[in-house]
Structures are given as C-alpha cells and as structure tokens.
Symmetry: C2
Subunit: 344 residues, 2 copies
Amino acid sequence: CDPGAAAEARAHQDRLTKPRGALGALEEVAVRLAGAAAVSPPPIPAPAALAIFAADHGVHAQGVSPWPQEVTQQMVGNFLAGGAVANAFAAQVGATVRVVDVGVAADLPPAPGLTVSKVAYGTADLSRGPAMTVEQAVAALEAGIAVARELVEQGARCLVTGDMGIANTTASAALVSAFTGRDAAEVTGRGTGVDDETLARKVEVVRRALRVNGLDGGAGAVPALETLAAVGGLEHAAIAGFVLGGASLRVPVILDGVIAGSAALAAAALAPAAVDHCVAGHRSAEPGHALALAHLGLRPLVELELRLGEGTGGLLAHPLVCAAARVMHEVATFDSAGVSEKEA
Amino acid sequence: CDPGAAAEARAHQDRLTKPRGALGALEEVAVRLAGAAAVSPPPIPAPAALAIFAADHGVHAQGVSPWPQEVTQQMVGNFLAGGAVANAFAAQVGATVRVVDVGVAADLPPAPGLTVSKVAYGTADLSRGPAMTVEQAVAALEAGIAVARELVEQGARCLVTGDMGIANTTASAALVSAFTGRDAAEVTGRGTGVDDETLARKVEVVRRALRVNGLDGGAGAVPALETLAAVGGLEHAAIAGFVLGGASLRVPVILDGVIAGSAALAAAALAPAAVDHCVAGHRSAEPGHALALAHLGLRPLVELELRLGEGTGGLLAHPLVCAAARVMHEVATFDSAGVSEKEA
C-alpha cells in the first residue's frame, strides 16, 4: 500500500461536493484502491473477470454435505453452459466468466471458457491426514497465479474469486480455525444447507482434521504452506494464488464468501501485503467468514445472507467498488462547482 | 400484489440450480417484484431513471443545519452539470437523471434535465405552523406522479427516488414521528453532519413541530394528507407522489434514504398497496430511517452508512435488484441442467 496515494485520496474525498464521510464505507474502499494502485484517483476497476476454481474433496466421504460429489462436475457444466447464478450475475455486472478445473474428480471435456489445470482428482480426506502434499498445494497456487496473470493480460482490471467444490466449506472451516486459532465449533456452519446432526458431525470432522494434522497448537504454529496443504482444498490453494497474482499486478481482487476468505487467510500468511489489494465482496451466512474477514481487517460490502459461493457475492459487490472509484474521477469539488461549504 | 405470481416465483426459485434460499434477501426481492408485476418471472427492472426532487425548508431558520440554504440551488446546478455523486452513481448503473424543482427558494434558469414544477419558494417553518397548505401538498404530490408517468413513458422500467433540500432531514424526522408514533429523540439524527448542540436543537424543533401541528396524539390520529402538509417538505410530498405514480404503473420504485422512507410512509398511509411496489435501496445512518423501513415492512439492500441523499443509496441498489430478477430469467433448473439435487 502506498500511504501517500491513500492520503491524497482521503484529502480529495473531503474536497468533493458532499458532506465529509457521507459515502460511508465506500470512501474507505476508494482510499484502499488508491493505496493499492499507488495512485489517486485510483483506476476504475472495470471490466471484471470472474474465475471459478473447481475441485473435489476427500472429506466428502465423511458425510459433511447432503449433496452428491458429482454435483461439482455437473455445476462446472452448468457454468460453461451459462446456466448458473454466477453467469446471471456476471452478465448483470459485465464480467467475464472463466472456469478452472484444479481438482475435479473426473475428466472434463474441453470447452470454451474452461481452463484445465488439474492437480489431482480431488484432495485426500483431511480428517485422516493431509488433504494435499505441499507440492500439490504449490501447483494449485501456481495455477491460480497463472489465471490471474492471463485474465489481466486479456484486459481485466478487477478479479473476482469464485469456487465450486462440494464439501468445500468443511475445508474452509478448518483453514479459518488453523489461521485464526478459533475453535472448530465457532467457525463451522451449515454450508449450502445441512441439518443439526450433519452440522455436529461436520464440527467433529473439522476438530479431528486439526488434531490429525497437528494444527491444534494455535494460530501460526505451523507454516502457512503446510497448513494450506494439510486442510485446504485445491480450489482454496488456487484462490490464494489468484489473490497473490492479482496483488502482484496491482489489480484489485474482490473476495467472494467463506471459501475466498479462508483462502485469503493463507495468501495473507504467505504475503501480508496481498491483503491491501483485496476487497471483501460480501459476508456470507457462514460463521467462519466473519471471523476470517475480521482477521484480515476487511469489511464486507454486501450483506444479504447469500450462501451460494461461485463468486456470486463478489460479483454483486463489483458495481459498488466501481462506484467508489468513479466518485474520485467524476465528482466536482466545492470550489469547481461553486457550492458553499458547511459553516464552522 | 398478486399472490399467485409471488407463489409461482417462490416455487421457481426452488427449482433453480442453487441450494434453496441460497440467495438470501435477493430471493425475497424477486418474489416481491413478481407479486408487484403480477407475473413470474418478473421483468428485469432496467433501465432505471432517477428523479431528484429539490426544495427548500422554512425550518432552516431554526438553525437545524450547518449548511447555508443556497446549497440547495447550488447542488441543483451541480446535478445538471453532472458533477454530483448521484451523477457518478447513475453513470455507473446506467440510470438517467432528472432534476425536479418542486420548491427551491429561487428561480432556476431552464436547463436540459430540469423539470420546473415549483409549488412554492420553499415551505413555511414547520415548527411554527403547517409547512404547507393541503393544496400545496397535493400539488407537489401531483408533480411527483406526473414525473413518474413521464419517465415510464420515456422507457424507464425502474424508478429511483432522489432528493435535495437543505434541512430536509428535520422534516423527515417529524414525518417519521407522526406516522410511527415514535418520540422525536428516537427519529432525529445528525443529517449531513451536525454537532451535539445542533442535534439537541433539532430534536426540540421536531418536538415543537409535532405539538404546534397537533401531531403528538399518536400515529394515525391526523389524516395522512394533513400530516404530510403539516410537517413534510415539498420534495417529500413529491416523492410520495412519485411512489404512487410508479406503483400505479406497476413499475418498481427503489427508495433512497430517510427522505424517501418518510415520504413512503405518507404514500403508504394514502394507498397501502403502493408499498408492494417499493424496494428499500439502502439504510442510511439516520435513526429515523430504520424505524420508517420497519414500519413499512421493507428490508434495505445496501448498508454502507451512506448519509448523502440525492438518490445515491437507491442507485447502488439497482444492480442488486436487477440481479435478483435476472436470476429468474436466466438460471437453469436442476432438471434442465442435469444437476443432481440434495439428498434427503
């Protein structure tokens, strides 16, 4: 973050024809964007590109989700056919959609819009040992970095994280617990809809995963990459790389829900400055998400109890982020517009 | 509201390729839109047209705002020149901007984008007697209805309320108190930025206005039109008409902040069904706004502590409302996409 550009952005906000602070949280967004871009006013972050990282999870075998595992690949087909909610929201905000197979448990037929960077046919069961080897986690990170680079080369000026992976909120809960030190029961939620019995089982699975992988010794006791490999998913690792890639190119990354939030914890542990380039698109209904965002120091822009993933919450935030930046370019100052200021 | 269309929309949501309820508050928006339009899926409410109703307030003489009264007309100039935040946000969401002078305390030069429907050169001081005669309130209501009709004739499929009027949060507080029965201290806020001393004075002014105008006898004791005339502003009356006009044409009306919320209380008291066509764009920092929305049974979509007015919060909600409707048109069903459903 460039403190000079951030300060200049803050000072410029106060000269614009509006009461000081009247744009609330959007003023902070504009200041963050300026600091991250090292220029004020910051570029308007458009067009946006959504990347949906898809992968499967060995922990599905523990009965943590009511959805069959094949829904991951079926939804990839739905994204590629343009039939998912993420497609509708992307059309609404003018974003492109890229689907990236980093670990779906099946071979997918080639299709326009699909990047195959498959690291494995799903992770191993994190409740019985490491979900990934460190080499696999690195390969998925690199795949995410490469997608960020390619999308920016193709003209994207904002990256939006998306995910698809049945059972991936279990991995997210374990990551949030490992990186924040919070108890499994605090960070585990109902995902896309589990009953009380399944939720209790899910909490136990997360607790076991932390114990089995030696991650119950407090936040930061195990290096970030090992932590990510032990209880993350391939899409979590890829999203962490996507965040690092966007940050290295000084392009804002809008984080979607708890999958992205938990992946961003890994990215932040690897490279703390990467968080400066992140905007929290929304706060999902998952309890671990709010804890992850608090740990990252990010305030979510949309709070509508979405619990879908795919990037849907991040996409909805895109016009808000653009609006925050646009104000800095287009709004007149009190001087230039001849508007009287507030009396002392 | 057409209960059949609303029920059909709800049933359709549950067939779409997403977990039930996963779009949170946006699912309710889609159901509301369908009920209001009497068809499912409901039309995508675009393009949007913003109407900024501008007027001055006799109560400004009581020192309830730190801003000089001439800022109202200066900001009208700023809107017409395209230099205000509302213009930047309208550009972001593809909305047109109409400025309507219903009561600015000066003659404004003709300009493209300006409709002059001036009812008076500002209201009388509501803390000393009625702000408007009933005839003036009706004239302003009619001006709002006419603007709604004209914008829809010109192609708008969504109306967004906007306002400009130095001291207008004082009138809003009085309206909220009168229509909800809440105490002046509960509904009065800092507007665009007043200090503790001014806030205390503002509360006293609101309390006096209610007493002087015989509105301290509980919610509903005085007919809606008389209440609106006694403590409303000309822009409040016009916005109430704008809501009624939009509702009569079955076009969704996105309400901005506390000015719109208090005006919608008047519209709802005059014609309760009008609320079915309203969407609460955001929740402002003004305490009276949350109370007004609760009274109307509306849930705000954007909560970013905006306190600017002009229609800015309503504009930011527009892409969210469109996204909610778009899902109903574009997202595949489990059957059509060949995606497995959740196991029982």
